[in-house]
Symmetry: C2
Subunit: 342 residues, 2 copies
């Protein structure tokens, strides 16, 4: 071809990215791979980022420490894994009755979300870039369907984080198992139910074989966001060109990951239902009590955690505005299309 | 700072981008500006793309010709403006009862959408990159509300393209006015109604002052996509680094434009309603007949246009799968959130 080569005087920069996810979650892990690949292409191979699965360089949930102390230059993770450090991390991913995927992206890109979360993450020497979203998740796998709020009393459910706190207020016995242990716990009956992601990921783990009832929606994960976390000093040391490449490549990974889920979930759901999985919607009394308890919890956290309060105040105002608007054009279009045989 | 500079041996490449839009549509025009800015930053100023508003270099609707014959290297436009060349262009933006914004992006990024549309655009020496989406639009401004299908008979409505063809089957008298002429036509009463975009853009043009009733949803634009159109020879002549930069910067512009609309529409809708605008939902009989006529039209086009048939067959299969899946987690979450006072 006629394309001239670009000569780079700069020596090669090599970074390591620690993912919190296994390679088997190809939708999520693939977003980090796409990010690294694109940065490599744009820099003519002079900015190389190697992508490492969870556990390879450090534990999956050790990546914030790893970025904070500079063991690795960057990570790909779900901020809400780190609510043990500060519950404010949850607002970077999802909280019960939060934002849907598009709303979360709008809050980040064009609302105050990214600015506020970066201000918070700066305490951990981190600068963040949105790095994908799963979309609204399914409500998990149940050995028996939930038909009323009282069915949750004493139910042993695998879930984590803020969701666990709301569930406990509903009488649920929360078990925070890692993903790899869910199947066996459901099979043995040491738990009664487990929530994970959605049809595409859940089918791979085979939960349908050990729990026949599949709930919707995950009112706790309407649009959970992943993030690229970068050590602020490492980022600050980059040439302006490479900073801009990170911004653009992260955006591409962000939009591509949601598209991966959207394109793969329908067929997986069809397979599940064909294989005997029964879908049920969380009853209204259950949703209503969960909503009430979630709002009470957020008020309590706001009263004692100024970082949370600052971000949540903006988040909740944005959520209110979004739902006002979505009622009309978006919901009007979607609900009609979903009612048609197309 | 410690950041080393990157030395570029290559001489500067200068491209011109012809937009089909005025600068006043800051949400859309801004996406092209963001794209060019990011490419400039990533290349250290060595790949410069100047962005020109509609009419500046060529007529707003002349940009496909401009890219095809190489007058400009690239354009930012809505493919459906070019249905006069071939109605298949409409599938690159939106058709009545098509995909919503996220579904359109999924079809493009992870379905067959981008591959199929690029195969079609290649006939015009064009390679396309998704370059933004407005989200579901509002159904336009009416001097009197539509309460039943029969109200459309003889109604003089400003709209364009495939929507116009469906509207004509409903008895509407279609007037394809440019955006700048809509206000005066509504004010003078030479038209009875006009559809444009949504609250943020419509408020700027002041349609609320001359037509009090605002319909939803725009069943003809559930998720209209904009595209960057690039001359295939110009693109082919770029170094691999710059090709990758175009891919990533277009992705960022794509996701950012939707976020702009999402962040700005709620406040504009609030202002409109506070100023006296009355919202109405298109009646079910009207939606149902429009749906029926749209599907009949698509079958007729498929019978005589092989390019359309090839793309539409895939598009409609993807639409069916998406709506199956969206009924559960997405709709379950969104409908609950929209019913709450949050």
């Amino acid at each position: 071809g006629t394309a001239p080569a670009i000569v780079h005087a700069q020596s090669t920069i090599r970074w390591r990215l620690a993912s919190s996810f296994p390679k088997s979650l190809d939708t999520i892990f693939g977003a980090a791979e796409l990010f690294a690949k694109r940065v490599g292409e744009m820099s003519g191979g002079k900015f190389q980022i190697s992508v490492h699965a969870g556990g390879e360089l450090m534990p999956a949930f050790g990546v914030v420490d790893g970025v904070q102390n500079g063991t690795v230059e960057m990570a790909h993770t779900a901020p809400y894994y780190f609510v043990g450090k500060d519950i404010t991390f949850a607002l970077g991913t999802a909280i019960p009755f939060g934002l849907n995927s598009r709303q979360m992206t709008a809050w980040m890109y064009q609302g105050n979300g990214l600015t506020l979360m970066r201000e918070f993450y700066a305490n951990y020497n981190i600068i963040s870039f949105p790095g994908g979203n799963t979309g609204a998740q399914m409500g998990g796998w149940f050995r028996k369907p939930i038909t009323k709020l009282a069915d949750l009393k004493g139910l042993r459910l695998r879930t984590v984080g803020v969701t666990g706190q709301v569930m406990e207020r509903l009488g649920v016995v929360v078990q925070a198992l890692p993903g790899a242990e869910i199947y066996q716990a459901l099979e043995k009956g040491t738990i009664d139910a487990a929530e994970w992601v959605g049809p595409y990921d859940d089918l791979k783990l085979g939960f349908n074989k050990v729990a026949p009832h599949y709930a919707y929606p995950a009112w706790w994960e309407g649009g959970p966001q992943l993030d690229f976390f970068i050590n602020t000093k490492a980022f600050g040391g980059l040439p302006a060109e490479y900073k801009a490449m990170i911004q653009a490549a992260a955006s591409e990974a962000h939009v591509d990951m949601q598209a991966r889920y959207d394109a793969r979930n329908p067929n997986a759901l069809r397979q599940l239902v064909a294989g005997g999985t029964k879908l049920f919607r969380f009853p209204k009394d259950t949703m209503d009590e969960a909503f009430k308890q979630a709002m009470a919890l957020y008020a309590e956290i706001s009263a004692k955690n100024p970082a949370w309060k600052k971000v949540y105040t903006d988040f909740s105002k944005f959520r209110s505005e979004q739902n006002l608007w979505y009622r009309f054009a978006e919901a009007g279009f979607d609900s009609y299309m979903q009612s048609q045989k197309v």
